[in-house]
Amino acid sequence: MSEHQNNDELRGSSNMQSEMGPDGHPVVSLAEVEDAELAKNESQSRSQGQLIRRRFLNHKPAIISSVVLVFITVMAFSSIGFAGIPGWWDKDYSKAGELINGGAPTLSLLPTWLGGSGLAFGESPFGQDNTGKDYFALVMRGTQKSIIIAVIVGMVATFIGAIIGAVAGYFRGWVDEVLMRITDLFIVIPLLVLAAVLAQMVGNKSGSIFALAFVLGLLTWTGLARLVRGEILSLREREYVAAAQAMGSKTSRVIFKHLLPNTVGVIVVNATFAIAGAILLETSLSYLGFGVQPPETSLGLLISQYQNAFTNRPWLFWWPGMIIVAIALSVNFLGDGLRDAFDPRQTRKAKRRKTKELS
């Protein structure tokens, strides 16, 4: 065999020679190499948050969705104004006006050179309803309310779900049993029925959409609680948690400083899905007449009020419907993007599949 020869060859052409330490000797210790690299590494230190942001910004559907979502939100709040601040749209959503051209939308997007009437908004771009109310103002008002409800539901559900899940997962034993059985109880009762009954009760008392949003939040935390509990169950076995306990940290510090921040991926992703779910839940409830009550309005209520107009005035149905779909879809894509950013393994899997198909 040729080991000797091999050895000589290797010693002659070893790439080791190229890696010199600061004192000119070849670096031959792993610890030294690592330390040298660390000292040399001047680059900006990236926290996990920065890495996640970077991956999120590379996720095209999520970025497009964010733009759409921001656009819809800004339109909804700036056009007709909010909380007493006037908007730039001059028509009031509650005032009936004169019906022009049967209330058909005056919005035109087709340029003249394509046979359209040019880019124009006209008097009432989304048309008018049967009493001559400006439908653009009405839809914007509904969008505002739907977004407020969705965000509140998302926040309340996330808060309750994260706390209950973390407490159950951390303490285990009977605490876990009790909390998870309560969670099961919420899950087995059909959500729509429970929400309808409670929303009706709250709605009759106060009539405010905030109360309605709060109630819906109290009902939709179950999924997140289970996910967070599972995550905490595995995280609490990590040694940094044992280290924190061993150095005498209080339970609250262990949960809120060491455990919950490390589940933020699960929490953020599910908060977005909770928001998307809340939009649809509010729409369903309002459509069935259990949610937002007139004179308040919401996207679901608009659809419900004008469902009979579907055949002769389809725009009364299409505009709120399209905005619901746009919001729900973009929030979902946003959630997808966040999930991929927090859990890069998933994107890599998708890539591998692609390359395999090619080969």
Binding site: M16, L30, L38, S45, A242, Q245, P261, N262
Partner: protein, 567 residues
């Protein structure tokens, strides 16, 4: 055995690499994992590929199996029995696995499917490759189990993986690897997850099999003792390139490359064990009456609650640890050594007996007083990847004990953190970095710094170096020793590695199944063991010198034969 379609020529290699390079595309840059590696493995030969983490040894073997992830680009050639497997289509590669190239994995607990019987898993590859079906396959499987030394194979083949011990599971994994008579077996750290006594048995088995089957074995390991015990030739890898190859005698006894020399020097060695029985212990120095006991255990009993029933993990263990001393606790997995560390840290209640830190019995303290005691105890855990919160910058990790115990203001904390970083030889700029930017050894040094933040009286080190590379381990041990001399804390050092304990500790407790079988000064216990179990443990630990290891192997055989004269 005659099912192979193309017998390798007698001069042909079982596995050979020609100028193999592997590059991974990652999010930020390309990482060159293997740089132009050339290596041959002949039939009936064991070639050990050694190196530390990141040296590319596992990537090399994975390339030969064709199992690299899609972000790897491979150049060069890797021949398995004369066929170049680099960029071979997946379907062809699949046919070659098991029949031409097989693998023994590191972790026998996860290498077997828990929901299938051993029979199903052993016959699977036989049937997939059309070598045997039905009863014939089962008969072959029984034969394989017999070959790897599983008692009563006919009965046990119907059992599930959880009904076997860790060592037996690794035997089954080996049986699966040899089931289709591969030309080459890649053994990726086959004994790393096993206890020393089991490791010795598995090494014996591998040695026996390679002679019997004339298979080439590529042994990937970081343990120089295993290399000395099993390998014919050694190839040393460092940072993706091969720095030295040669026979085991050449490389281990006369290393040429400075890296190999340093690596071998870093391996902690056990001094020769006296087996003749005429060891004269040094006279026992009288116990200094003024010494301050930092940790004391009297008839300590610790129990785990296993869904209603109690499992006694530690039974009637007593020891004393004075200021400035290091007490080693050694034992195999399941001996209860880490449980003691857990109890001292307050992560497990004491069932009965006394466990006192500086004279205060932990069992009788109120929660608030117990928390105050915690400030005097520092801890280093085994896994540096898991023992730092990934969302905390290093500075926050180190100063956390100060925050918990409300010591100092922000400026004082930062000052302390820089001091400690300097003590563990890390640049002060690390303070704003995150744990994922550091290597394992560096993270472990951060853990040491964190343990010392509040000037502890007692340091608990639970296997602090078993997840680290040899040279890094040497640096970390040296650091613990240096800091211990500087700060004079007492240290409870839990480890499975006798050589490390020998190097570091003053006294030692040897544990087995929750009992302390032998304890005393390191120089007595580890060099002239009185108890059979300690002797077996010492005999099973391989040393990185082929000649000496052969002698020890023989000595161990005699020792075991004396123990059970029937077998």
């Amino acid at each position: 055995m005659s099912t192979q379609t193309h017998e390798p020529a007698t001069t042909g290699t079982a596995l050979s690499f020609e100028n193999l390079s592997v590059t991974f595309q990652t999010e930020f840059s390309d990482v060159k994992a293997v740089k132009g590696l050339s290596l041959e493995v002949f039939p009936g030969e064991v070639v050990a590929l050694v190196g530390e983490s990141g040296s590319g040894k596992s990537v090399t073997s994975t390339a030969a199996m064709g199992l690299l992830p899609s972000n790897a680009s491979i150049t060069g050639k890797a021949f398995v029995g004369g066929i170049n497997v680099v960029n071979l289509p997946e379907a062809k590669m699949r046919k070659m696995r098991a029949t031409d190239i097989a693998m023994v994995f590191q972790e026998p607990m996860t290498a077997l499917n828990p929901v299938l019987t051993i029979e199903r898993q052993l016959t699977e590859s036989l049937e997939l490759h059309g070598l045997a079906y039905g009863k014939e396959a089962t008969a072959r499987a029984v034969e394989l189990l017999e070959m790897v030394g599983i008692p009563e194979p006919r009965k046990r083949i119907k059992q599930y993986p959880h009904q076997f011990s860790g060592g037996q599971r690794q035997r089954i994994v080996i049986a699966m690897a040899i089931s289709c008579d591969p030309k080459v077996i890649i053994a990726d750290e086959p004994t790393t997850a096993l206890d020393v006594t089991v490791q010795a048995e598995i090494l014996d088995l591998l040695r026996e099999l390679k002679d019997k089957l004339n298979t080439g074995i590529l042994l990937i390991t970081h343990n120089m003792g295993v290399v000395a015990d099993l390998a014919d030739r050694v190839a040393v890898m460092f940072r993706g390139s091969l720095v030295e190859t040669g026979t085991v005698d050449q490389v281990l006894n006369r290393p040429q490359h400075p890296y190999t020399q340093k690596l071998l020097a870093a391996v902690p060695r056990l001094e020769a064990v006296d087996i003749s029985g005429d060891w004269q212990p040094e006279p026992i120095a009288p116990v200094n009456p003024n010494r301050t006991l930092v940790l004391e255990a009297k008839n300590l009993v610790l129990e785990y609650d296993m869904r209603g029933s109690k499992f006694r993990a530690v039974d009637d263990v007593s020891f004393e640890l004075a200021r400035g001393e290091i007490l080693g606790i050694v034992g195999e997995s399941g001996s209860g050594k880490s449980t003691i560390a857990k109890a001292v840290l307050g992560l497990l209640p004491v069932a009965s007996g006394v466990l006192a830190v500086q004279g205060q019995n932990l069992t009788q303290l109120r929660p608030k007083a117990a928390r105050a005691v915690r400030a005097k105890i520092g801890v280093i855990f085994q896994d540096p990847a898991a023992s730092l919160n990934p969302r905390f910058p290093i500075g926050d990790c180190i100063t956390e004990p100060m925050v918990v115990h409300k010591v100092g203001n922000r400026a004082a904390r930062i000052k302390r953190a820089t001091e400690l970083l300097e003590a563990v030889h890390l640049p002060a700029s690390v303070i704003n970095r995150y744990p994922h930017e550091l290597s394992g050894g560096q993270r472990q040094r951060v853990c040491i710094a964190r343990a010392l933040t509040l000037d502890p009286e007692l340091l608990i080190a639970d296997e602090p170096t078993s997840a680290l590379d040899v040279s890094v381990q040497a640096a970390v041990l040296e650091m613990i020793q240096e800091l211990q001399e500087r700060y004079e804390f007492a240290c409870l050092f839990v480890s499975h590695d006798l050589a490390v304990v020998d190097l570091l500790a003053h006294s030692v407790v040897v544990m087995k199944d929750g009992h302390a079988v032998e304890q005393g000064r390191v120089s007595d216990v580890l060099h002239a063991p009185q108890h059979d179990y300690t002797r077996r443990l010492l005999a099973a630990a391989p040393v990185p010198e082929p000649g000496e290891q052969a002698v020890r192997r023989e000595a161990r055989r005699i020792l075991l034969a004396n123990d059970n004269p029937d077998s």
